[in-house]
C-alpha cells in the first residue's frame, strides 16, 4: 500500500476518534441529547446501508465490465451531448446522500471521466425528485420549476467551467 493511501486511511480513523471524543464530551453535558444524537446517527446508517450496498455493487460491475475505453467514449473527452445527458439525468435520478456516491464517481474519474461531468452529476443531485411535491407545497409550482431549471443549467455551466479550467 502506498504511503499516500496509508495517510488517507489514517485520516479516517483520526476523524472517527475525534467524533467519538465529541460524543463523550457532549455526554457529560447532556446525556439525553447525546443519546438522541447517537440514535439519529444509527437511523442515518440504517437509511443509507441499502443504497451503499447498491453503490458498491455498481462499482464492482463498473470495474469488471466497463473498461477505460467505454468510459472515455461515454463520459470522456469525446462524450459530447450524450455525456451531459447521462450525468444530468443520473444526478437527478440518484438517491441518498451525496457522499455515498463519491467512491463510484472517483472510480469513473480514474477511468477517464471528465471532472466537469462528475461535478455536473453532483450538482444535478440538488433536484430531489421524491421531495418535489413537498417543495411545491411550501413554495409553489412556479418556484419549483424555475429553481429546478436553474439547478440543471447551473450544473451544466459548472461542468463547462471545470472542463475549461483543467
Amino acid at each position: 500500500m502506498s504511503q499516500k493511501k496509508q495517510v488517507k486511511n489514517k485520516s479516517g480513523y483520526i476523524m472517527l476518534g475525534m467524533v467519538g471524543l465529541l460524543y463523550i464530551i457532549f455526554y457529560f453535558f447532556n446525556v439525553q441529547k447525546t443519546e438522541a444524537a447517537l440514535l439519529a446517527s444509527l437511523d442515518v446508517l440504517k437509511m443509507i446501508a441499502p443504497i451503499l450496498i447498491v453503490v458498491f455493487f455498481l462499482i464492482a460491475l463498473l470495474n469488471t465490465f466497463i473498461d477505460e475505453k467505454s468510459i472515455a467514449k461515454h463520459l470522456g473527452e469525446e462524450s459530447g451531448f450524450k455525456g451531459w445527458l447521462i450525468v444530468l439525468l443520473g444526478g437527478i435520478l440518484s438517491h441518498g446522500p451525496g457522499y455515498i456516491w463519491y467512491p463510484m464517481l472517483q472510480q469513473l474519474r480514474k477511468k477517464g471521466a471528465l471532472d466537469g461531468l462528475v461535478i455536473a452529476f453532483i450538482y444535478a443531485r440538488a433536484i430531489k425528485l421524491p421531495w418535489l411535491p413537498l417543495m411545491i407545497n411550501y413554495f409553489g409550482v412556479n418556484f419549483t420549476i424555475v429553481l429546478s431549471f436553474y439547478i440543471i443549467l447551473g450544473a451544466f455551466v459548472q461542468g463547462v467551467i471545470t472542463n475549461k479550467l483543467k
Binding site: A37, L38, A40, S41, T64, Q106, F143, V146, T162, L165
Partner: protein, 148 residues
C-alpha cells in the same frame, strides 16, 4: 485476458477493500450528522437573519452549508423562515447550499477526490448558490410579480 468469474471475484474483493477503507470516515460523518441534527435547532438558524438581503443570502448559504439532514428538512425550515419574513433570496440560498454544500462531509470528500477537485466543486457550489438564488427570484418576479 482473465476469465470473467475470476475477474468478478477479484473486483468484489477490491470493492470490499475500498468499502473497508472509507468506512471509518463514513462512520465519522454519520456520527457528526447525528450530533448536528440533535444540537442545531431551526430556532438557532432563524435567530441569525436580520433582514438585509445580501447579509441574509450569505447567512442562508452558510447555514445551509453547515446544516445536515434529509433534503425535506431544508424545505420545512425554509418554509418556516419565509413565513417569519425572511427574504426568499436567503431561503433559496439556504435550500440550495443545504443540498449542494456540506461542511461536515468535507474531510470525506477531500480523502476520496483529492484537494483540487474538492475545492473546485465546493467553490463553484458556493458561488452558484448566490447566482441561482438571485436568478430564480429575478425570473419569478419577471414572470408574475412573485414577490412584492
Amino acid at each position: 485476458m482473465k476469465k470473467t468469474p475470476h475477474r468478478i471475484k477479484t473486483t468484489l474483493l477490491n470493492t470490499f477493500k475500498s468499502l473497508q477503507a472509507i468506512a471509518p470516515m463514513l462512520l465519522a460523518v454519520i456520527g457528526m450528522v447525528g450530533l448536528f441534527e440533535t444540537f442545531i435547532t431551526p430556532q438557532m438558524i432563524h435567530s441569525l437573519f436580520d433582514g438585509n438581503i445580501i447579509h441574509d443570502m450569505f447567512l442562508g448559504t452558510t447555514a445551509g452549508a453547515v446544516s445536515v439532514g434529509q433534503p425535506f428538512l431544508s424545505y420545512i425550515i425554509g418554509g418556516e423562515l419565509l413565513k417569519e419574513g425572511i427574504s426568499l433570496y436567503a431561503v433559496t440560498a439556504f435550500i440550495l447550499s443545504f443540498v449542494t454544500l456540506g461542511v461536515i462531509q468535507l474531510p470525506l470528500e477531500f480523502s476520496i477526490f483529492g484537494t483540487r477537485f474538492t475545492i473546485m466543486r465546493n467553490l463553484l457550489s458556493l458561488i452558484f448558490a448566490f447566482i441561482i438564488s438571485w436568478a430564480s427570484i429575478y425570473t419569478l418576479t419577471l414572470i408574475k410579480g412573485y414577490i412584492s
